[in-house]
């Protein structure tokens, strides 16, 4: 008896909750209204089914609960009822599937004139690349993306662009985690990773896809609302997964083109690399090599950008605030202890995700010298 009442309460409360919930889709900011519509259709059909079958169950439990002297009916089958139920269910399923597949047919066919954006996922940051919008290519900006290979990847070439590919030289590289897109124009997103699986997920756009190393994957959407949208990784990619943040700024075409013009091309990046001064101190040079070979540079920049961990530019000599509220001056001793045991004293504002790296004392000294040099410059 109580159970029938409680079940009724649950069903009514669930429907009410659905009606009143403060948590639902983020406001749509792309062309995929039809995805939302399919969700609505699915909610309605399944919701009606849920309510109908549960109310019937509740009535049954209440009506046929055991009372003394009661005996159950004997009706082991009823093929006619079963056939009707199979038929009705099939109709419901077709009603769900058909609109879903129709939307999906559009999803797998990106428009021919779409702007191509490459998103490169890397533990635990985002990079972006455009083919380049040289004036002679017209509004389409359809110059192609240059070839890439993992063997070209270096700290100053995170995309792994082939320096010998002329098409790569015009490519516009965005090494920060923020990308701009023009409003109202279809965007075909090419997804690439040089390390592990990722997923470029911007909830208001709805469209998304996993990123798989060793292959390209793709999806498309048309941004329809100006604004700054949060992007995040939605496929577990290691200990820094939840810190893999990005932003997409949707703005009018003119603003977008102005922004794009300010981004460096691959040719400019190559020139900057050639002009960069090399350190003369062998200890610092060794530290620089270690920072690359041990993977430190994946999270720590030397140009002031915050990737996952704090930048090394100007770090030495700073006073850091720790999670426990105390503060510490970044000196030789502090750096050595931190590198030895990163989890011991987490720093405020950064996730405690730095792994312990196996290093000899000499290697730690070299690394510290290198970090120090980023302040001395």
């Amino acid at each position: 008896m109580a159970v029938a009442l409680v079940l009724l309460l649950i069903v009514v409360a669930s429907l009410l909750f659905h009606w009143l919930t403060p948590w639902w889709l983020t406001p749509l900011a792309s062309n995929w209204q039809r995805m939302d519509d399919t969700l609505t259709v699915t909610v309605l059909i399944t919701g009606a089914f849920f309510a109908a079958i549960m109310l019937f169950l509740i009535y049954t439990v209440w009506r046929y609960r055991h009372r003394s002297g009661q005996r159950a009916a004997y009706e082991p089958e009823n093929p006619r009822v079963e056939r009707w139920l199979i038929g009705a269910t099939t109709v419901g399923i077709v009603g769900l599937l058909a609109p879903g597949l129709a939307v999906y047919a559009d999803y797998v066919h990106p428009p021919q004139d779409a702007l191509v954006l490459e998103v490169l996922g890397q533990q635990w940051q985002w990079h972006y690349r455009f083919a380049g919008l040289s004036e002679k290519a017209g509004a389409k900006g359809s110059e192609r993306l240059g070839g890439t290979d993992v063997r070209f990847v270096a700290p100053d070439n995170p995309f792994g662009l082939d320096p010998a590919d002329p098409a790569a030289l015009d490519n516009v590289l965005v090494t920060g985690n923020e990308v701009h897109l023009p409003i109202g124009r279809p965007v075909k997103v090419l997804l690439r990773s040089n390390d592990v699986l990722h997923d470029f997920f911007v909830p208001p756009f709805r469209a998304r896809m996993n990123i798989v190393p060793g292959q390209l994957s793709t999806f498309w959407f048309t941004p329809t609302t100006a604004g700054r949208f949060e992007a995040m990784c939605a496929q577990l990619c290691g200990v820094g997964h939840s810190n893999m943040r990005g932003f997409v700024i949707v703005e009018p075409e003119a603003d977008f083109r102005a922004w794009l013009a300010k981004q460096p091309t691959f040719a400019m990046a190559l020139a900057a690399r050639a002009a960069a001064p090399r350190s003369t101190d062998p200890l610092v040079a060794r530290g620089g090599a270690l920072a690359q070979s041990k993977g430190c540079v994946a999270c720590h920049s030397i140009d002031g950008r915050t990737i996952v961990g704090p930048t090394w530019k100007g770090l030495f000599g700073k006073t850091e605030t720790l999670v426990d509220g105390s503060s510490a001056k970044v000196d030789d001793e502090y750096l050595k202890r931190f590198i030895r045991d990163p989890a011991a004293r987490p720093i405020k504002g950064f996730a405690p995700v730095m792994p312990k790296v196996d290093l000899s004392d000499a290697e730690v000294d070299a690394l510290v010298a290198y970090i120090k040099a980023q302040t001395a410059n």
């Binding site: 909750f17 159950a72 004997y74 082991p76 269910t89 999906y104 060793g214 577990l236």
Partner: protein, 591 residues
């Protein structure tokens, strides 16, 4: 058909009754003891999985408060919780526990047909559990790659436990599959070869049908996990490149080249989707029996129910890539897998209708097993319906990888089957031990578990629709997540802790009632199926005394018009009536 002559059976096939404590309770070849060993081990591992889930919820509900839960530990908790619950608890409990106990008793056999292999199956399972638990104690700890163990990250730095942890996880899985295969061959052969006289396939209780088909699925699906486990082990230890493309891991070039991460996902889900039904089909079968017995009514549409189980089992092998709609596989696969996935909803819905129609015009006794069965119906219907969201490819795209998925699969293959496990334990406990479980503790356990799990998972769907991704250590500084969502996470955590604590009551009830519970009579629920008609309760070695039972009807002869009692035992003489309905075409030979 392979009926065994009753007189010969005892002499030829049955192994000798063990004499010493060691051979009776430890190195036992008796299916009933092995079932309890399997079940006991699975429950102990399940408690570990439960504690891990509560630790994980502490971090989600109160990020940063429990400083020992750092990001590495969090992902290790998530991973181990998932793997333990799916494989080492549910699979082992349904097949090794319920399968072992019920099959021989329900089909009228003296034991499994290969008792020695049955014993081996348990000890190999125990070994796999030990290896799994060892991974908590190796340097780097257990793997934190997520229970799906997706490469490349599962074996690369940047993921917790990428050395010893992942190796022990893979080794443990391989060992587990060896155990499951030994058990599975046994269950299938026993069902096909050792049924008592008169026990046709279409007279078997649905519990046996569910376990039987689930076992066939396990035998066909686990090899895919086995080979992918071996391949990943080779990638990890010998540097092969089955799943590893050329890549740069945290700044270091790895030696791998040319492998495909998607190949692993295909292999994993080719196992992983049938795995859902390896857990669900036994639950379907068992709950059918619970509903029929406690509503005193013949299961509605028995043959349709059997066909639904078989069809669902078959279809479960052609839907796997609905787990991969946004994986980056060829997008055209989406059309096929969305369609096959939604087709599977039809036989599943029929099962739901037939459960409800079994209750219709029944004499519904609201005993604890029936309460769990009703809770299963609500939970399963909700979890099944949200599957229609995720199976329909364009609805799945925004929901994939969010808390909607977490809520869906916990409802449909976590909570729903576990409610059946609980119901089944309350139902068959008197058979196993000869004592009843305490009813008041059972009611308390039921209400808190049922309402608690609903409160945990129902609102969780909405966080997923909002777009909150799963497997996040924390959600700091995301503007699109309102403060109220964090409040909801606090609420869910608190409820999860209460539900977790309530399981202590269940374990206490099990232990206490085993020794102190009220004595049960031989057939406390007045059930008609064969397992309740052993000469002794609990059944002794060989189950049936001198003479095997002879079966004359199906297991659902309840409230037959004209019969004196409201049930007729399967082995009652033919004069008692209550035969199963005959097929309308004249092909079947059911009697």
């Amino acid at each position: 058909m392979a009926y065994v002559d009753a007189a010969d059976h005892l002499a030829d096939d049955a192994h000798a009754e063990p004499r010493s404590f060691l051979t009776r309770y430890v190195w036992s070849q008796d299916h009933k003891v092995i079932a309890v060993q399997y079940g006991g081990t699975a429950i102990v591992v399940g408690v570990v999985g439960l504690v891990l889930s509560n630790l994980m919820r502490l971090q989600i509900g109160f990020p940063g408060v429990f400083s020992f839960i750092d990001a590495e530990r969090y992902y290790q908790f998530v991973t181990m919780h998932g793997m333990i619950m799916v494989i080492y608890l549910l699979t082992a409990l349904f097949l090794g526990g319920f399968g072992n106990y019920l099959i021989p008793l329900m089909v009228g056999a003296r034991d499994m047909v290969f008792p020695y292999m049955n014993m081996l199956s348990f000890w190999v399972y125990l070994l796999s559990v030990v290896v799994l638990m060892l991974s908590f104690f190796v340097p780097g700890g257990p793997t934190g790659a997520g229970w799906t163990l997706y490469p490349p990250q599962a074996i690369l730095p940047g993921t917790p436990g990428h050395d010893g942890g992942i190796v022990l996880m893979l080794v443990s899985l391989v060992i587990f599959i060896v155990a499951t295969t030994m058990g599975g061959l046994n269950y299938v052969t026993t069902v096909l070869q050792a049924r008592a006289e008169g026990m046709t396939l279409l007279r078997m209780p649905l519990a046996v049908w569910g376990i039987f088909v689930a076992t066939i699925l396990a035998l066909l699906a686990f090899p895919a996990l086995f080979v992918s486990g071996i391949m990943m082990l080779l990638d990890k230890t010998l540097g092969t490149s089955f799943f590893m493309p050329a890549l740069i891991s945290l700044g270091q070039v790895s030696g791998h080249k040319g492998g495909s991460p998607l190949l692993f996902q295909h292999l994993f889900w080719f196992f992983g989707h049938p795995e859902v039904y390896i857990v669900a089909l036994p639950a379907f079968g068992i709950v059918s029996d619970l509903i029929s017995v406690h509503a005193r009514k013949a299961i509605f549409g028995y043959r349709t129910m059997v066909w639904a189980i078989v069809v669902i089992g078959g279809l479960s092998f052609v839907v796997w890539a609905h787990h991969m709609f946004v994986s980056g596989m060829n997008p055209y696969f989406g059309f096929f897998f969305a369609t096959s996935t939604l087709i599977i909803a039809v036989p599943t819905a029929i099962k739901v209708y037939n459960w409800v129609l079994t209750l219709w015009k029944g004499d519904i006794h609201l005993s604890v097993p029936m309460l769990f069965a009703l809770a299963f119906l609500l939970t399963f219907v909700l979890g099944g319906l949200t599957g229609l969201f995720l199976g329909n490819v364009s609805v799945d795209i925004p929901l994939s990888g969010t808390y909607f998925v977490v809520a869906h699969f916990h409802m449909v293959m976590g909570v729903a089957p576990l409610l059946v496990v609980f119901g089944g334990i309350y139902h068959w406990f008197p058979k196993i031990t000869g004592r009843m479980l305490d009813d008041r503790l059972g009611q308390l356990h039921f209400w808190v578990t049922f309402l608690g799990t609903y409160l945990i998972y129902f609102p969780m769907h909405y966080l997923g629709v909002l777009g909150m991704p799963r497997r996040y250590y924390n959600y700091e500084n995301y503007d699109f997540i309102p403060a109220s969502a964090h409040m909801l996470n606090v609420f869910i955590t608190v409820v999860a802790l209460i539900v977790g604590a309530m399981q202590i009551v269940f374990v206490f009830n099990l232990v206490w009632s085993t020794f102190r519970g009220a004595r049960a009579d031989a057939n406390p629920w007045r059930a008609a199926s064969l397992e309740w008609f052993t000469p002794h309760t609990p059944p002794r070695h060989g189950n049936w005394g001198a003479k095997l039972p002879v079966v004359h009807r199906w297991a659902y002869a309840y409230s037959v018009p004209g019969a004196r009692a409201d049930f007729i035992a399967q082995n009652a003489p033919p004069e008692a009536g209550g035969f199963e309905p005959q097929p309308h075409s004249s092909k079947g030979t059911a009697s």
